[in-house]
Each structure stands twice: as C-alpha cells, then as structure tokens.
Symmetry: C2
Subunit: 264 residues, 2 copies
C-alpha cells in the first residue's frame, strides 16, 4: 500500500510541515520505500518532482523541505509497490492534460485484474501500474462525457464520484485527483482531512519530533486543508472520509460531498 497527501489552500502555502511527516514514512517510520512524488499547482501551471528512491533518504525530498514551494493545491504520494516495478514511470502522481488543464492523480490501494478489461481510448499508461491505468480510464470518461470543463463543480464531482464507485468495485481505491482549482478526495478504506484556520494553534507531527505554532506562520484569513491516508499530527482532530465518499475542496473549503449509494 501507499500513502497519500493532499493540500488545498486559499493562499499560496508551503506544505513542508506535513511533507516532513509523510517523508518519514517512506522507509523510516513506514514501509513505503518504493519512490515518491509531489505535484504543486501555481495558477494553472503545475510542477512535479518524482523520485523512485525512498523518500526518507531522498536528496530531492530534502531539497523541497529546505526550499519551500508555495502552492494552493498539492498532491503527493509515497509508494510501497504492489503492481508494477519500482521505476520512474510507475512513480505517482500521474498527470495528463484535459480541456487545457493539467490533471494530477495519486492512488492508494489495489485494483483487481478486471480493471485491465476496461477499454482505454484517448489516454494510455506509460508505466504498468493498476493506478495509472485507472487514472487513464477516469480521464477517458471525463473527456468522452464533457466537451469542455463543466462550469459547475458539482456536475464534475457527481460524475467523478460515479467513476470512483465503479473503480471501488474492483478493489481498494483511495484517491487524490485534481487540477488547479479543485481537489477531489475519494475514500475506500482510509483517508482523513483537517482544515486549519484562525484561531490557529500548535500541531505536532506523529512521525518526527517537529511542532509548529501556526499562529506564527499564518495571517488571520488563511485557510489550509490537508488530506492524508493517516492523520499526520497527534494533537489535532482529523475528520474521516466515509467509505464511498468523495469530497471536493476549493481554496481549502469543502464545496461538495457525494456519498455512496451502496454499490459495495
């Protein structure tokens, strides 16, 4: 299995604190030694860092921690391989362009081989993971259904939720998916989120001895939502996403929630 980390914020924010915790799980406090990646959005632009080496000892991870990149939307992933070799093309997050937006995807879980019977048309995987295949299928569905980007995010999230429910029939499908504005978080087994806003307090990481007092790091109007496979801090209240639930975040706010109609 793998671990996911996402962020949606109303001002460009660095994710160093949460990222520091996650990276420890990549071979130090957790077994996810098979590479890691992170994608940052800045406006419509996106930049990604991918490394097939363990995150706990990665020089690129070290660099990102010491040279924070501020972003309003981040998707990150550390990998413990089950399907697909450990190499660069199998390293999440995966990205594709649709409607003039870069879409980014990371997956935690495993889907059974029926997945590979789903036909692909526009988007093809570069590597050989179940995750990238599922991403290409999801992108295909979006492209075939909507000629342009729907202006109402609820239309988009409703459709994405239907696709996620279909993928969940094939196994464990915990997902972070997004483009420059919206972060979609879908859960099968475990995915948690927290929104930090004024009055800000202190938070201490579970995975290493780091405490931050967000009062000193933020202004009063800042809002930042973090989504993670497991809560990253030990002294804050995280919210669980239900099985079969898709939450849509925009600028840190929950703008839509879709629940399972009980497929599984």
């Amino acid at each position: 299995m793998c671990e996911l980390l996402g962020m949606s914020a109303n001002v460009p924010t660095d994710i160093c604190f949460s990222f520091s915790g996650l990276m420890q799980r990549g071979g130090e406090t957790g077994p996810h030694r098979d590479g890691w990646g992170i994608s940052f959005y800045e406006g419509k632009g996106q930049r990604s860092f991918h490394d097939p080496d363990p995150s706990c000892s990665s020089k690129i991870a070290e660099f990102i921690k010491s040279h924070p990149i501020k972003s309003t939307l981040v998707i990150s992933h550390i990998r413990q391989a089950n399907v697909g070799k450990v190499n660069l093309e199998n390293t999440h997050p995966f990205s594709r362009e649709l409607w003039g937006y870069i879409w980014t995807f990371a997956h935690n879980g495993q889907l059974d081989t029926r997945l590979f019977n789903l036909p692909l048309e526009f988007y093809l995987p570069v590597g050989n993971t179940d995750s990238e295949y599922a991403f290409c299928w999801l992108m295909d569905q979006l492209r075939k259904t909507f000629k342009t980007r729907p202006s109402d995010p609820k239309v988009l999230s409703d459709f994405i939720h239907q696709c996620c429910e279909k993928l969940r029939e094939l196994g464990v499908f915990n997902m972070l998916f997004g483009e420059s504005e919206f972060l979609f978080a879908y859960n099968t087994t475990k995915l948690w989120w927290i929104t930090r806003k004024a009055p800000f307090g202190e938070a201490s990481l579970k995975d290493c001895d780091v405490t931050v007092d967000f009062k000193n790091e933020t202004s009063i109007t800042d809002k930042v939502t973090v989504v993670a496979t497991e809560p990253l801090t030990k002294n804050e209240q995280w919210n669980a996403i239900e099985t079969g639930e898709l939450i849509t975040f925009e600028l840190a706010d929950v703008v839509d929630q879709k629940y399972s109609k009980g497929i599984v």
Copy 2:
C-alpha cells in the same frame, strides 16, 4: 528569444557540464531571465524541473548541478519571454502523452498569429505561448495520422519534418522534441550539435571557467550527443544544422536527416 539544450546518449549520462554553461545564459552571460526547465528520461519515465525564476540564480538549477541525474535523453530550455507572461504554465519544456509515451517539446523563436488559426482537437495549451500552441498542433497531427507509434523512426521523422516545415512558414521555429528513444532537432535560424566519443578530449565552457577532461569521466564505448542553440564550448568543433533540416538522434547516433525542399 530563448536557448535550447538537448542530449542523446548511449548510456545514462549526466548533463551537468553543458547545463552549467547554459544556466549562465539565464541572466548572467545571456538575457534569458524568464524561467527555465529541463526534462530527463529514464527508460519510458520522464521527470521535469520547471522554474519561472532566472536560471543563473535558481536554487533548483543549483541543486541539479550538484546532484546529477543520469539520463539517455534530455531536453532543456531557458526563456526570454516574447509571447505569454512569465509564469509556470508558460515555462518550457512542455509534455503530453501519446501512444503510451511522454513527448517533450521546447521551442526557440517566434511564430506569427496565423499559428492560432490552426485548429486543435485533442491537445490544448495550458498557458498562452505560441510555443505550447505549436506543440499541441504537432501532437494533434501525430495522433491523427498514426494510430500507434510507427516502428520505423524514419516514418516518424518524415512526418515530423513536414509539420516543422509548415510551422517554419509562420516564423522562426527552432525545436527540440522527443520521447524516451528519439530526439528530434529542427532548425530555422540556429541550432548546433556535437557528438563526443572515444578518443575523448578536453572541453572548456564558453560561459564560465569550467574545463572537463572527458577521458576521466567516460568509458571507451560511451557516446554522447549535445544539441544547443549556440556552441557551449570554445575548443571543440560543433556542427550546424541547416535551415529546414530535421536530425533524428537515437542513443547519440544520427539515425535520420531530412532536408528542406525549399518551402521558405
């Protein structure tokens, strides 16, 4: 205008020497202050670094110089903006997936506004440069013409050459384009290349006081081709690519050359 740098090698090779020279032109010895980017292939996998800040003072550029990434195919670009704002989405190289391969593109030059009359179907630009628009059009042509990747690289290069000739009718179009195996280099005004192989000798950069003796850095079977807007070294013999010529490199070798039939 901008500067291009490409590499095709028969063994994973770091591009630090050439990159060090190029980065100086990003605001130090040259005027290309408007961002830079670099894409490395490792097998079918690709990783890119993009930075809208000047390369000569970029922390990410510094990191890449001090932590070499070995690759068989590299495309890099430093930007002096003419069309499109200085921001992440307008920073080359641009990438899209086709036939299960990631294609990467960087452009030096400027195309006139007739470019934007060329219809786009599958691929849309994320930013607003002429370069990304031309890339999307080129990708569209490839996708519409070939259902799968042609097994003969000459079929591919013949078609790409026709597309490049059409784009050259619209202005200056110097291009590096490629995926995991092939590097395509097309010239309108200036583009140079050199292949280094045994017996290796010394090379000294033009843009900073760095000399490398490749004898000490290589084994006897290594071959590395570098393509650049201007020769990067002062004591080696670089080859000019003709106006309207497309050269296809594979593992450092020239595998095809297409010449203009005199459109311009």
